[in-house]
Subunit: 334 residues, 4 copies
Amino acid sequence: MAHPGDVSALGALMASGQVDPRGIRAVIGKTEGNGGINDFTRGFFTQSLMLLLAEKTGEDRATLTAHIPCVLSGGTEGALSPHYLVFSVAPGEGARGLALGTAFSAPVPNAAIGRAAQVASVADAVRAAMEQAGIADPEDVALVQVKAPAGQGGDAAARTPDGRRLMALSRAAAAFGVGVALGDIDPDAATEAAMLTDLALFTHRASISSGVEVVANEVVVFGHAPGWAAGLSIGVAPMRDLLDLEGAAAAFRAAGGRVAGVIAKGEPDMSGRIRGQRHTMLGDTDIDAQRHLRGALGAIVSALAGDGRVFVSGGAEHQGPPGGGLVCVFAESS
Amino acid sequence: MAHPGDVSALGALMASGQVDPRGIRAVIGKTEGNGGINDFTRGFFTQSLMLLLAEKTGEDRATLTAHIPCVLSGGTEGALSPHYLVFSVAPGEGARGLALGTAFSAPVPNAAIGRAAQVASVADAVRAAMEQAGIADPEDVALVQVKAPAGQGGDAAARTPDGRRLMALSRAAAAFGVGVALGDIDPDAATEAAMLTDLALFTHRASISSGVEVVANEVVVFGHAPGWAAGLSIGVAPMRDLLDLEGAAAAFRAAGGRVAGVIAKGEPDMSGRIRGQRHTMLGDTDIDAQRHLRGALGAIVSALAGDGRVFVSGGAEHQGPPGGGLVCVFAESS
Amino acid sequence: MAHPGDVSALGALMASGQVDPRGIRAVIGKTEGNGGINDFTRGFFTQSLMLLLAEKTGEDRATLTAHIPCVLSGGTEGALSPHYLVFSVAPGEGARGLALGTAFSAPVPNAAIGRAAQVASVADAVRAAMEQAGIADPEDVALVQVKAPAGQGGDAAARTPDGRRLMALSRAAAAFGVGVALGDIDPDAATEAAMLTDLALFTHRASISSGVEVVANEVVVFGHAPGWAAGLSIGVAPMRDLLDLEGAAAAFRAAGGRVAGVIAKGEPDMSGRIRGQRHTMLGDTDIDAQRHLRGALGAIVSALAGDGRVFVSGGAEHQGPPGGGLVCVFAESS
Amino acid sequence: MAHPGDVSALGALMASGQVDPRGIRAVIGKTEGNGGINDFTRGFFTQSLMLLLAEKTGEDRATLTAHIPCVLSGGTEGALSPHYLVFSVAPGEGARGLALGTAFSAPVPNAAIGRAAQVASVADAVRAAMEQAGIADPEDVALVQVKAPAGQGGDAAARTPDGRRLMALSRAAAAFGVGVALGDIDPDAATEAAMLTDLALFTHRASISSGVEVVANEVVVFGHAPGWAAGLSIGVAPMRDLLDLEGAAAAFRAAGGRVAGVIAKGEPDMSGRIRGQRHTMLGDTDIDAQRHLRGALGAIVSALAGDGRVFVSGGAEHQGPPGGGLVCVFAESS
């Protein structure tokens, strides 16, 4: 991936027959933007990907964009390397294995971002994606990855005029939606008032990004269900804080096998301290706190993986304990 | 350390008698600036420290500044925490233990930065510091920490008009000086032409920072010698690349005991790749490559230490293999 | 001014007898930091200045710091040049001329920043400074420059945990204090709820900076009064928006004479548009909106002055119409 | 233009018949990226524009991309507003008026960037574009706008491994090519050694941007020739330094009429000073010097235009005197 519009590697895999364009269900990737409200590398990648898929499948771009979740996180700070994971399925696959389901909510108007309506919308999408995957029991869900909309331009009806805060509220609402659908968060507690304030409310099984390049909640559910091929495993473990090397290592151990992809979420500790020592991420005028976070978390997880191709996303509100996060490892059986 | 001018914690230790102001030999610390040519947090800290020492010792600031190395590195990206290590000695200490020696070269004119004269000047200072420490054999040196000048303002006589490059040339010359003094680098190879170009020339035992706030090469030598108290140990190990978690862990194992301080050096791999995967540190218009590097390396070493108070400095030219670095751990026997 | 700790030019003027150290009443300057909560160039300059004044006057630093307002704004983006204006008085001066008065409020605890108590505190300090200057009628005040505290570290009692917002609230409270003292803002309207929300409330005669390096509201009043020498004039004019070249030029015309110093305040238009066209200052993840603003406003005013030594400060909340600002020019009669 | 991929305004003009898609000859615009080597907003816009044109004209994207210069400059710092100028022609137009010609060179391999081959290639393209426009005499050329390639990824054959420097060398070579074609620069002086060093070599009639999103030199020539409609005028004037308000104003006066578009080029003065005062653009670790420059120059020119839609591009090497630049104004007769 030479730049955010470069999907030539996937094109080559399709040309050689190794990937069936019609089997692609979801794409999760990192692009080398700043990860903020003015990061357009995500939109550039999505447009380029959908152009390629349209050419290869004959379907039109709008249809593809509305059915294949393309979850991008900008920011490849430090050791991180731009890359994308392509999740595809083939017919006639096996017994009980790693299951995948996707769903899109209806488009979320700016005024609904970070509100109860978005929570319900995400919860419904999670349930739809579980059904598609054939996962009946929420306990069988390993991770839910969501890309949530961050609002398109200043809208007087939006819950806040602050773009960064609207991105965070969207993540909070989506995390609540996942938590409610999985039974990890009490629906009565998942209120608008609790978003970004009651940080004790969280689910370990959600990884949420938000961005201006999507208009609906795009949901990908990973878990275990009958009717899926063996050969791929998933390991998920929480990190209790940014320096929790053991927590991160546990996810690699749980997955076993050869690492095929890694997802990590984290958060600059809002107390301003990590294990009692002052950090300077929150008050830096020149580098955004999430860029600091991704560089630090990304390096720790990349060092464990021995590879910079790790999907690291900041903004882990309600996706783990305050200041903590999670690591999810996909591995191939050897 | 609430801000770069805050030396109140050291003041309190002096007031309580735990630290003798006259025993202080060197200070090594991290301040929360950007680490670049326009980072003035280092000068602010030095001024504040010397004001405190002048008050407590009765000596004048200029004299103290010219005799106590104050090696600061700006930039506490990611998990890093602003802090400073104070190295002090007390009379009547023991048999063979962790030895410390310091030396200042003569002031380095701008025109001499990054030139052969600076190499010789650093090598002489290293020998003087070894003698002060009582270390006769270069093999007994564990690490040499240098703060080298980066030039004061645009000077037509300087080797380059590019401030960042002049900082790098100063680090290269100082690394050559250390390598020559320790026998790690062939004096005939340590030429001006080889600086920043022949990256196969390096010593594992040098940690160099450069900055506009010093005018001479300030040298601190750590090693082992008779006449020093037991109780403190030092472990140094190279990192072969930024993701070399095992290399970093080896320094912690070598030191043993309770961690009292950590120094790490690293470098964005100039090939643009780490273990074959593209990184984006070098071409980022918005975040300086050294800031990326410190955030990533700092997180890995902090995760191992379980503490963000790690002295991490970028710019490891000739201080390890290209793209690699070193970790040095001070520990107290338990 | 070679760097933020360089006060050698003032030292030379004192050494040559051109400036009497005991006549200095206030210093207003720009340092080359980022202007944000983590800009320590302001504190470095203040410490350096007070060291110089202590040496030259024999008074101690703490006393000087508590009596001489040192109003610094970080950030010399674009065409701006680091510099400081020194305001001093001499006995036996003339009839009616440019008058100067200063005052410090009591220290402002973190919990009081951006609250009614700060408004009252600033208003009282303005009145005290007017009295010192001999200005009886608020109509004779041309400009009030305030440096207001921004809070020292995270304090649970603070009105907001967001450092940038606390800086803005401090500026808002100080602007309200000036407006109330001068009769430009109705005291009943200057409530906590109105801060940063009712942007129609403003005074054209306030220029407010906030920063972590001060603990009290430091106030400098400029105006006209009997008993002051002729020879210096002041021109103040509002800018209705960032592109209001005519407004800025009016201040230069009003001052007449040879430009001796310039103060400008401005604000990124919170509507996201300037004269109907979208600007991108507010949503930029990589460059702080105030840095954008200072670079733009500074260039316009510097182009008019023909000199980059312009004190430009962002954060003009309640100091002019939304998105607008003011320019103040000091000039010497020819 | 809501974001860099938003070409809906042009789409609407085509839908309403106000713009004939087949008449479009060139597009010049500003996108809200960082303007550096890792600015992908330019590529995103180009892809989006060509998708629209392909849909409207029925031609394929590759053909359109290879024939319609799309000259984008990233970076809308400060008062600047993202926008694009669409230059189109219609048959049967008048006598002597504003003429336009375009040309593409052959693709420039990385190894040829900043070398004599690129100079010749640009000069040939300028001559071809003049011929297309019907301009026989170089004196009738008002301005040549070039988008030059900046290299695609690290290439060992490239003249320098430093991405920023390669961008600058590409601009230098293109400026030399324009100067040679117009007779403003002596061909014998326009050597590789003179690039970025002999700054006394320049043409006032070149505006060059470089970027990774183009592979050939894309040239647009503006001037006067028979056979073009009246109604549009062009005014070009040099700025002798960044604060040259009069120089910039002269271009507006020369154009007369209602402003329809503005192009400006400038450069951070490499001496580190503007009119004797130190600026801090070159040594800032956090904000790229070109971002500083665009914010400052853009504000001055926008203030004169009364509109932030100004194409401002940094990197004016050999396009004006050192530290200076040029302003070009397109105006409609009233």
